[in-house]
Subunit: 290 residues, 2 copies
């Protein structure tokens, strides 16, 4: 199976490298050229001049872009080159409705679609241990499985097209609450004068143990917020969650609180890891003495 990759961002680049290591990657395309050229030089795969040419050379195309409109643009650009029966696997995080729209446009061009958003951070992308939440036909998933297994440690079919994105939205709400939990608690612990590295080690072994505490706790207490997962991208995802909840006339407290708190961070935090929420929480304690 020849696999093409579109979107070499913080997640996409290591995912494409894992496809290459599995002997599956035939070519890449990226909106900004530098990364695709560098990857092509490193791996020997083709840096295609346009998505349609990439599509013409591959049976399966993985897309990993930032926003809903990016996905629909990439789909439109792929369509003229798509081979009959090709599969497009989208690993972006977009609205479930956008995934269904992409599937409709691809079906009209004789191609199949799976929404396959991922969780596990850049660490999971590099290690090839991502949790992949899939939406689409089971038969299509089975055909795509070799490519998915090169990128993920766990592949779960959640339902028809869109169900993968609904699962990812659930994940992003949980990540928001855990970010609130970890940053608020550690800011409190720091104000109490506790030895923070030992505190994190003790907390991660108890009922508060979580991935984010173990991976982002040690950096946030030093005022460092390396990527990771950008505040700006999480805010975009939480807007999707907000709209999906609004369809039930529901306002979700954690989603609303986190969107509000992200707007209160300094402007440059949009490009920092979401653990930069720690700035806001620790400022509450330091400003209180003013």
């Amino acid at each position: 199976m020849r696999v093409g990759f579109v979107g070499l961002g913080a997640m996409g680049l290591p995912m494409a490298l894992n496809l290459h290591r599995a002997g599956l990657l035939a070519g890449v395309w990226n909106r900004t050229g530098g990364r695709a050229a560098a990857l092509a030089a490193e791996t020997g795969v083709t840096d295609f001049p346009a998505p349609a040419e990439l599509a013409a050379a591959c049976e399966l195309i993985v897309t990993c872009v930032s926003a809903d409109e990016d996905l629909l643009e990439v789909v439109a650009a792929l369509v003229p080159g798509l081979r009959p029966g090709a599969i497009v696997v989208d690993c972006s995080t977009v609205a479930a409705g956008t995934a269904r729209e992409a599937a409709r446009r691809l079906a009209a061009a004789g191609a199949e679609f799976l929404d396959c958003p991922v969780s596990g951070g850049t660490e999971g992308a590099i290690a090839g241990t991502l949790s992949i939440m899939a939406g689409g036909d089971e038969a299509t998933l089975e055909r795509a499985r070799p490519a998915l297994e090169a990128m993920g440690g766990s592949i779960t079919l959640m339902g028809p097209v869109g169900a993968g994105q609904a699962a990812k939205a659930t994940n992003q709400i949980m990540v928001a609450g855990i970010n609130q939990a970890v940053t608020e608690a550690l800011a409190f612990g720091q104000a109490q004068g506790l030895p923070m590295e030992q505190l994190i080690k003790a907390l991660e072994k108890g009922a508060a143990g979580n991935w984010f505490l173990s991976r982002r706790g040690p950096t946030m207490i030093r005022g460092e917020f390396p990527l990771g997962f950008k505040v700006g991208l999480h805010a975009k995802d939480l807007e999707i969650c907000r709209r999906m909840a609004e369809e039930f006339s529901v306002r979700l407290p954690i989603v609303e609180m986190t969107l509000l708190h992200y707007t209160r961070l300094p402007a440059h935090s949009a490009d920092e890891d979401i653990s930069a929420l720690f700035r806001l929480k620790s400022d509450m304690f330091t400003r209180s003495g003013d």
Copy 2:
């Protein structure tokens, strides 16, 4: 070392049993008699008629009670019987100031004190893998270590008396936020019609992975909230956190939100596991169709 145990609740009873298995437990006392008598019958240790008599027979006494006033009452009841150089290890969750007051009263009676609140749930108490956050003198901790190792998988000295409770308060804030995160996200996922058991399995392998999701997720989605950790006790602990934050003129958003949400649960939820917060979150979606 002969160890006595006061407070055979959901956490205390399995902790006392682990001390017995380690050959350390000499006797017990419990405010309500039934549990102490049953444990004495099962293990052959003495069910003492009063805390002072237990104290007279032991070098180390572990206390595990519910509220600040309970701890000070138990300390007062132990004092007349305490042997010189005895150690009282309190595994309750109380305010740091209450721990320091207990230490003062015990020092006046020639005894030593460690605040050793724990995390890890009833599962951790049964398995003897609790995370113990200790406050007090290092030399006292070393003398108490055999008893602590019988109950815990991790023992971390956080600082002087009171520092263990400050670390536990940090833990309870984090647990509140994680409860918000997991219940809100899973209620959203359920409203999306996702297959919930598969969803939990996919989420726990990604960046949202956490102890609470894996242990309480599968029951909450069935509308079951077995103990675990009572809503009423967590609310009491969060009131402690609120007062500790007020000393910095800070109101903590997750603490305030969770205390408010707990008051909105049905009255009988006070004795349910904190995952009963799921009732409130899922009701948002089901009521919205009214």
